[in-house]
């Protein structure tokens, strides 16, 4: 009982004396079939608090905040808002009570302006003009500059997120939930976000913050609640913990270090790109300009850069989702493949992991076994004279589950029911288990917890050690520094000369990411290294 009491009150030091919690959950439970995504969770959110919600992939973080925000109905338990129990019928009621939420995946229309997007997301009945004026005022007050008349497609990811945040702030929420807001941001954009959150706190609001970046949590958050396997395991003050101790609480054990095998040897060129230029397929896309690089077996090449500088277009050109007229622009395993379809490229031994998990890497409403078939049908013995070998597809699911510790409610669920990080582990596993000669992967650990990220990075290193050529696009410079042998930067459709990782300082990469070129001498030196 004693321990229980302590769990209810996260701040025995009396920090909140004289105030009452803004939001509390008591025994909050969400069941999917006989799987418990949330198991009797009690948490207290106080005014003027930035509260972190931590946990491994699939621990139940998103499920918990969706229940709080009225997006899903809990199976049992209570939610108390300023001390009184409430039953939310949906997000619009949550908003009208003073809850706001910023989702990890944006819900914006590319061809509408900022103001139009905000208007669509508000429940209010004020005129468009009043709303625009208020939008400008709110964005100015919080130092989140936005031009209401710009169309969304022109904006960077960080700016798009700003729209979502401003939209939430315009409702004047007492309590704001952010689900992995910094996963897609550059470090500078993340810093800006933290200033806003500090300010919200100073205004007496509360923030619930989901993130896998523990250093960030230590810097920003006053309290941290840790979930493991759907249960709350602890509440602590993250400033008094280390990133390692937080990770231990999340996993319930130590996290393995990523180790690069020492004897990694580079062999023959397996992926060569020669002067690849490609007009964008979509109205708002980026043109690829004279991209060339060579990637040998045993080697990992990292591509850094701010999102939206042509990384998506490069991925499509390499995978064969977009064909180029000149076969020689993309050479896979010595064979000119620029004109070959994605299936033919897979047959040459290439494998691909796109950035967007739902809807691109997988069909959300289809089972995992069917999603294994999606990329495996060409070359993995899953199809026999046109007939699907269901046992083979299920075996791929089982092997990926085992090798990459994919946590799910049943053996073969729909892709959309997996938590974000677990789906990512499945997709990466699905491709690595095919033993590719060339792997092209975008944002491999986007939204993946520290433990699982280590597993995925280790798998990429092991794949290279086994002789494959690996191309990794990532916004996370630490990740690239950890696994890549060379790093190149993408800017406005151009790809810089790759730098050897040991020479690729943050300063140099930052310059390249901003579009400036390095000193000629320095660049020559780095290439020579």
């Amino acid at each position: 009982m004693q321990a229980h009491q302590r769990m209810l009150d996260p701040t025995p030091n009396g920090l909140h004396s004289g105030e009452s919690p803004l939001l509390q959950t008591r025994g909050l439970t969400k069941r999917y079939g006989d799987f418990l995504a949330n198991d009797s969770i009690n948490i207290d959110i106080w005014p003027k608090e930035i509260h972190a919600l931590l946990g491994e992939n699939g621990a139940g973080k998103s499920t918990l905040v969706k229940s709080i925000y009225g997006l899903i109905q809990p199976s049992a338990g209570k939610i108390l808002w300023q001390g009184t129990p409430i039953a939310l019928s949906g997000p619009s009621e949550a908003r009208s009570r003073g809850l706001g939420m910023v989702f990890q995946h944006f819900s914006l229309f590319d061809n509408l302006t900022v103001a139009e997007n905000v208007a669509l997301g508000l429940d209010g009945k004020e005129s468009f003009k009043d709303m625009s004026a208020r939008l400008e005022q709110v964005s100015k007050t919080y130092g989140l500059p936005l031009d209401p008349k710009r169309e969304v497609w022109q904006l960077s990811v960080g700016e798009r997120q700003r729209i979502e945040i401003v939209r939430a702030l315009m409702q004047d929420p007492k309590f704001l939930i952010l689900d992995e807001p910094t996963a897609v941001l550059t470090p500078q954009e993340a810093d800006q976000l933290f200033i806003v959150l500090e300010r919200l706190k100073a205004e007496g609001r509360a923030v619930l913050y989901i993130s896998h970046k523990l250093e960030e949590v230590k810097r920003l958050c006053d309290t941290a609640t840790i979930l493991r396997g759907g249960k709350k395991v602890d509440t602590c003050n993250p400033r008094l913990e280390t990133a390692a101790s937080l990770a231990r609480m999340m996993v319930g054990g130590e996290i393995k270090e990523v180790k690069s095998a020492s004897g990694r040897k580079t062999t023959v060129p397996r992926l060569v790109v020669n002067d690849l230029s490609l007009a964008p397929a979509e109205a708002h896309g980026v043109r690829l300009e004279h991209i060339s690089f060579e990637l040998k077996g045993g080697e990992i090449l990292g591509i850094a850069g701010v999102a939206g500088n042509g990384q998506d277009e490069l991925f499509a050109a390499l995978s064969g989702e977009r064909l180029s007229k000149d076969p020689g622009t993309v050479v896979i395993e010595g064979i000119a493949a620029g004109h070959l379809s994605i299936t033919q490229r897979r047959k040459l031994g290439a494998a691909f992991v796109p950035e967007e998990r739902l809807g691109h890497g997988t069909a959300p409403r289809m089972k995992l076994s069917e999603n294994a078939l999606l990329t495996g049908h060409a070359a993995s013995g899953m199809v026999n004279r046109g007939f699907i070998d269901t046992s083979a597809t299920l075996k791929t699911v089982d092997r990926a589950t085992e090798t990459f510790d994919v946590r799910k409610a049943k053996r073969d669920p729909e892709a959309a029911s997996l938590s974000g990080g677990n789906l990512q582990k499945f997709i990466v596993g699905r491709e690595i288990l095919r033993n590719p000669a060339v792997l092209v992967v975008s944002q491999p650990t986007w939204g993946v917890d520290a433990g699982a990220a280590a597993v995925i990075r280790q798998a990429l290193l092991d794949l290279a050690t086994a002789g494959a050529a690996v191309l990794v696009t990532s916004q996370d410079l630490d990740e690239l520094a950890e696994i890549a042998d060379r790093i190149a930067v993408m800017f406005h459709g151009h790809l810089s000369e790759p730098l050897a990782t040991r020479d690729a300082t943050r300063e140099k990469l930052g310059l390249l990411m901003g579009g400036s070129s390095l000193e000629p001498k320095e660049a020559a030196h780095a290439v020579g290294a």
Partner: protein, 363 residues
């Protein structure tokens, strides 16, 4: 107070299963009101529509006969619709198939041709239906023309072409100037399953088509391709599946099945080519496909149900003088409710009270 549609966070699987049943229920309620307005006793009318046809062997056979073209066409349409390719012109493909198959029957009339005639008619009808369906498919893929409009408009072309043939070149010289061909020879006629009955070989073919579609969709990579292209186009492209090729393929298959259904109808129950061989099978099959949830077994059941409404409508006309067009009204209302109920799988109704907060705050 305001009624709004709100997106559900989770797809409701229960509603996915019961939605066709809700739709049927709502349709029946609406029909009862309609019968009452027409001054007919609703209970007697419902009995004539849904119960009476099930009570004698002749009507039961007739239901199977009517369900045959509906099911065959709807299976083809379901492949299109699963791939999100909207073939609305099955009626035209049905007529073109009927005409093409009849060509052999007319040309071999009285020549003592052998047993090859009927199979040849089937093959030609299927090929013609497929080619006819390819017109909108190719216009869509090459020029981006809306397949909904082009396939629909081609229905009228086919209808008038058939009309021209039976009034002109193919008219039966001994037919008292009626717009019809001569009665087909026995070798050009679909054999009956029961001597003196109505049930014919076509129903067996329809069952084979249902089984083949179930295997195609459930077990083969082609079927997977059809489903994934419709469900997640970008993922399908990533999987290496070509949506345009699939539009061509599904249109061709559905055209072939509609064409085959057309010749079976002409060479079976009708026995000769004439205008009006179809009471709108190609359009009713759209309802069948959706009511059957684009699932082969579901389509078989839905096809039988809609066939029942055709027979029931005839009985109601004879017994109670209810106009035959009421059947079409019934089918239209049913499609409306099916589509409406389907949106409840992803959305839910919600009552919004603008001043609810105020009310709560006061209370």
């Amino acid at each position: 107070m305001q009624l709004v549609l709100e997106k559900r966070a989770e797809r409701s699987n229960t509603i996915a299963l019961v939605s066709p049943l809700i739709a049927i229920g709502l349709t029946i309620v609406t029909m009862v009101i309609l019968f009452a307005i027409l001054g007919k006793n609703p209970l007697l009318a419902l009995h004539a529509y849904f119960i009476a046809p099930l009570t004698d062997s002749y009507s039961l056979q007739e239901i199977a006969v009517k369900a045959t073209p509906l099911v065959m066409i709807a299976i083809g349409l379901s492949l299109c619709y699963l791939a999100k390719a909207w073939n609305i012109g099955a009626e035209g493909q049905f007529l073109v198939g009927a005409v093409a198959g009849s060509w052999i029957a007319v040309k071999t009339q009285g020549t003592d041709a052998g047993a090859w005639v009927l199979p040849a008619m089937f093959v030609l009808a299927a090929a013609a239906g497929a080619l006819y369906a390819l017109i909108p498919a190719i216009c869509k893929v090459k020029f981006g023309a809306s397949e909904i409009l082009t396939s629909l408009m081609l229905v009228y072309v086919a209808d008038l072409f058939l009309d021209y043939l039976v009034r002109g070149p193919w008219r039966d010289p001994h037919g008292f100037n009626f717009p019809t061909t001569a009665e087909f020879d026995p070798v050009a006629t679909v054999p009956l399953l029961i001597e003196g009955g109505r049930l014919h070989l076509g129903s067996i073919i329809a069952l084979i088509v249902v089984a083949a579609a179930a295997i195609l969709l459930g077990r083969t990579i082609k079927g997977f391709e059809i489903r994934v292209v419709g469900a997640a186009p970008r993922a399908a492209r990533f999987g290496g599946f070509n949506a345009n090729q699939l539009i061509i393929l599904t249109f061709a298959v559905s055209g072939a099945l509609a064409g085959l259904a057309g010749i079976i109808e002409v060479a079976g129950p009708v026995g000769h080519l004439q205008p009006g061989i179809s009471p709108g099978y190609g359009f009713t099959a759209i309802i069948v496909a959706f009511l059957g949830r684009l699932n082969p077994l579901g389509i078989l059941i839905a096809g039988l149900f809609l066939a029942l409404t055709f027979i029931g409508g005839e009985q109601a006309q004879i017994a109670m003088k209810i106009p035959l067009d009421v059947t079409k009204v019934f089918q239209g209302i049913l499609l409306f409710y099916v589509l409406a109920c389907d949106s409840l799988i992803l959305y839910r109704f919600k009552l919004v009270f603008p001043n609810r907060q105020v009310a709560r705050g006061a209370g």
